[in-house]
């Protein structure tokens, strides 16, 4: 079979196998991708045979038409000019200043609020911010109820009219599989556990917060993923930001994708390791970084790196692109580095049996060293997990910040995860999953 088509910028000029012609008119008209020659020049020699991919893997992202881009910048320019005008008026007290400022007596001190930095916040975001952060008052299912609110001073303050707008089509939640409901098996099981265990654990995991429910959940998660052992944490963001510092430290190298989530970035920065960024989903960039890292070693001393960790995500939340996992694993094996896969959005959603991006590509879960994911999206609960070899998880049980200092998962939430996971695995006896 012909090697799957891939270009660095994920745009080609031929129509794709899966039927979507990525070369919309805009792509050719603004000339952005005209310069890209045939894919041969960009295919890495590891992948020529295409044997890494069991099915053709094509992703096409539409390029923005030039007119739209130019007009967007024109709009920004106009609003920036008006922003300067309004700031001038606020400075000279022609208009009342409505964002946070210090008291008059404190004006000579070191400034608390950076006025200049909030320029876009004050002048652009305030004008349109009534479209976000709207409070809902029902379960985030297919339809939600929203509280009505109005603003009389152009979005600086909001007041609630008291009415509720009903049955709004929900296109924004993470409720991918519909497990967040107020009736059904998940809810009944969670209610039963709530009456048994209560809502709060009131302890961290290492102290007194290790319930038998947690052990049951972790065994189930390990079985679901196909790994030896797993550990669950109370918050998905905290899973990343608190466990990466436990795994790498100074003298290690982190290779992180351009578009990684804030939790991965925060964890990487907190760890103190050297961070290098490779272009989004670009395997040539990653290989170049790996080669440089191994050849040159640490910056000044030229010693070899203690550990090289590659941070990728299963599905990138803002782009919607799926990581090229077979190539990443091939590179990881070739250059003997470790892989940390954040499957926040892809667990439960990808793959023939819902086991995530590893299942989607038909790979061995043991190839990924650290499989991380969250329960927030597909399972309709909250929290995160890390799965991997038993030694790794035992190490994390002792050394993770989240295990020592953060409260463990609440029992009804754990029961929700258990029920929904069993439903996806098909073990609850129904054919819903």
């Amino acid at each position: 079979m012909e090697g799957p088509e891939r270009t660095a910028a994920a745009l080609g000029t031929q129509p794709r196998v899966n039927g979507c012609s990525g070369a919309a008119h805009g792509a050719l008209r603004n000339g952005y991708v005209r310069g890209i020659p045939a894919s041969d020049t960009q295919i890495n020699h590891i992948m020529h045979n295409g044997g890494l991919y069991k099915r053709p893997f094509n992703e096409a992202f539409e390029e923005t038409p030039m007119l739209v881009a130019v007009l967007t910048y024109v709009g920004y320019g106009v609003l920036t000019l008006f922003g300067y005008l309004r700031d001038f008026m606020r400075q000279w007290k022609i208009e009342k200043c409505q964002n946070a400022t210090e008291r008059e007596e404190q004006k000579d001190f070191v400034p608390l609020y950076q006025d200049f930095e909030n320029f876009y916040n004050r002048n652009l975001y305030m004008r349109i911010r009534d479209s976000w952060n709207r409070p809902i008052c029902s379960v985030p299912g297919a339809k939600v109820d929203m509280m009505e609110r109005v603003s009389h001073d152009y979005n600086w303050t909001f007041t609630y009219t008291g009415r509720v707008i009903k049955d709004i089509i929900n296109m924004g939640s993470y409720n991918y599989l519909g497990f967040a409901q107020k009736s059904g098996t998940c809810q009944e099981a969670a209610a039963k556990v709530l009456s048994q265990y209560g809502a709060g654990v009131c302890s961290s995991r290492q102290e007194m917060g290790n319930l038998d429910k947690h052990e049951e959940l972790e065994k189930l998660v390990a079985r679901f993923l196909g790994v030896e052992s797993a550990m669950a944490y109370g918050m998905g963001f905290a899973t990343n930001s608190m466990n990466i510092p436990a795994l790498v430290g100074k003298g290690c190298l982190i290779l992180s994708d351009e578009l990684n989530h804030a939790s991965l970035v925060l964890g990487a920065r907190l760890s103190g390791a050297t961070i290098r960024i490779f272009k989004h989903n670009n395997m040539q960039s990653l290989e170049k970084l790996l080669k440089d890292a191994i050849v040159h070693g640490q910056p000044r001393t030229r010693r070899p790196w203690k550990k090289i960790l590659i941070l990728v995500e299963g599905i990138y939340s803002m782009e919607g692109s799926i990581v090229r996992l077979p190539e990443v694993i091939a590179l990881k094996k070739k250059y003997k580095s470790y892989l940390y896969l954040d499957e926040a959005h892809s667990i439960g959603a990808l793959g023939p049996s819902g086991r995530g991006v590893v299942d989607y590509f038909g790979l061995n879960p043991e190839d990924v060293d650290v499989m991380m994911g969250t329960f927030t999206k597909s399972f309709g609960a909250a929290g995160g997990y890390i799965g991997g070899f038993k030694e790794l998880i035992d190490y994390l049980r002792t050394y993770s910040h989240s295990a020592v200092y953060a409260t463990s998962l609440s029992p009804p939430v754990v029961e929700q995860i258990i029920t929904s996971m069993k439903c996806i695995m098909g073990e609850d006896g129904t054919t819903v999953g």
């Binding site: 007009l71 024109v74 709009g75 106009v78 609003l79 004008r127």
Partner: protein, 80 residues
């Protein structure tokens, strides 16, 4: 009926204009300022075009013709 369709189409065009120039987001007095400024610039442009364009075009045409005529001294000038 046709005026109804025409008016809604014109309103849609006006909405597009407001969205593109971001005047949809402005407070009323800002919109007045913005439209006045734009209208003034447009009028100035039109006046300049009306006052100076014929003169400039004529001079340009004359210089082009001189160049052409200088090259083709042996041949008679083509009738325009």
């Amino acid at each position: 009926m046709d005026t109804r369709g025409m008016r809604s189409y014109l309103y849609w065009l006006y909405c597009q204009f407001e969205l593109i120039t971001c005047s949809y987001l402005m407070e009323p007095w800002e919109k007045v300022l913005f439209y006045t400024f734009n209208a003034a610039m447009l009028l100035a442009l039109l006046y300049t075009a009306y006052a100076f364009l014929p003169g400039h075009l004529g001079a340009a045409l004359q210089s082009v013709l001189q160049l052409w005529g200088g090259q083709q001294d042996s041949q008679p000038l083509p009738l325009l």
